[in-house]
């Protein structure tokens, strides 16, 4: 299993790049998170079972690492209507030269860490069932959350589009 680790990671590395791009805005942070995810994948390789999809396992490890990694480097915490929110004062995401994509990216960057994970899985065309299983929440809850995220993204994109 361990001998095939790098082969598997090489084959499915897009997952890691996508997670890193979604959770960071600078190349330095991205590289740091990428390395952290690789270490976590290596550490948990024994947890991976042949009968489960390697991409699902990678998503789970990568998203969990991205979420906990950012928790460690959170800059400030505020209390808003009784809810604790973490604000990251990262610089704005870099431009990819495509207006629509940049706008989508900017809108996603303003979501909280859990919503970012749900958005990524949704945009990557995972079914609600897969998302629920991966995130550990009910399928109906996924639906509710995705709908909420959709309207959030829509509002942000419309306000920025002016």
């Amino acid at each position: 299993m361990k001998a095939d680790f790098l082969k598997a990671i090489t084959k499915h590395q897009k997952i890691l790049h996508k997670v890193c791009h979604l959770y960071t805005n600078t190349p330095e942070d991205r590289e740091d998170l990428f390395q952290e995810i690789l270490i976590q994948l290596w550490k948990s390789i024994h947890q991976f079972r042949e009968n489960s999809k390697i991409s699902t396992w990678m998503y789970k490890v990568a998203l969990h690492t991205a979420i906990t990694h950012l928790n460690k480097t959170k800059k400030h915490t505020i209390h808003k209507d009784g809810v604790v929110e973490t604000i990251d004062y990262h610089q704005l995401p870099e431009s990819y030269g495509q207006e629509d994509f940049d706008l989508l990216y900017m809108a996603i960057s303003q979501l909280n860490k859990i919503d970012k994970a749900l958005t990524l899985l949704y945009l990557e065309k995972h079914s609600y069932q897969e998302i629920a299983s991966l995130m550990g929440i009910s399928e109906s809850n996924v639906g509710v959350k995705i709908n909420r995220i959709k309207s959030k993204l829509k509002t942000i994109m419309q306000s920025k589009n002016g």
Binding site: K2, A3, L6, K7, I9, T10, Q13, K14, H17, K18, H21, E31, F34, Q35, E36, L38, I39, Q40, W42, K43, Y96, Q98, D100, F101, L104, Y122, L123, E124, K125, K150, L153
Partner: protein
């Protein structure tokens, strides 16, 4: 939202396609965190070696300034010790920086690095105090034989020799403090990465 899914798929694929890494690059990325700590260790190791050389040069100069009768033999001994330490540093530096990525897995590479660093740590903790004790006994013998040519064992000479024990212990403690100051933080980082990989 389907429109957004398509937008995402098209452009995110373009972005990540440019970032594709091969297996070697991924291996390097994986150990990069550990390497950051190693680079820091190498830097302090060089500082450490320079300090050792400076101290040796200072001791040799002192033997000449006070015009010690056996200054040449003492200086030769100090130079031999410096050479021994130089070889030791070179071996450590080479071992820590050379990795067999082709035949070794990452955990093995990191574990080997840790093993070498622990050898280095032990050599530092015990080697330097033992060298100090040897040098202390040698210098006391030279000083005691200056007048009569032989060492007369009495209460006074026994006390002078036995003082070497607490002095050696003090050197051991100072070495520990110095080593921890130089390598402590970096070693902790590396240890935590190795621990994570080995769990």
């Amino acid at each position: 939202m389907d429109e957004l899914q398509n937008l995402w798929t098209t452009h995110s694929e373009k972005v990540v396609n440019e970032l594709q890494l091969d297996e070697t690059e991924l291996s390097n990325q994986l150990i990069d965190k550990a390497n950051n700590a190693i680079r820091q260790i190498n830097r302090v190791m060089r500082i450490d070696a320079i300090i050792m050389m400076a101290i040796t040069a200072l001791f040799i100069s002192i033997t000449f300034i006070i015009n010690l009768e056996s200054k040449y033999s003492v200086s030769l001994l100090l130079l031999c010790m410096m050479m021994f330490l130089g070889v030791h540093y070179w071996i450590k530096h080479t071992l820590i920086n050379n990795h067999d990525f082709k035949n070794e897995n990452i955990a093995n590479i990191l574990n080997k690095k840790m093993k070498y660093l622990r050898w280095y740590e032990r050599a530092y903790y015990y080697g330097i105090p033992i060298i100090f004790l040897g040098l202390y006994i040698y210098l006391q013998t030279i000083l005691l034989t200056l007048s009569s040519g032989v060492v007369e064992f009495n209460m006074s000479t026994s006390l002078r020799y036995s003082l070497g024990i607490p002095a050696t212990f003090l050197v051991h403690l100072l070495t520990k403090v110095f080593y921890d100051w130089l390598f402590g933080k970096e070693l902790q980082t590396l240890e935590s990465i190795v621990e994570k990989l080995n769990q």
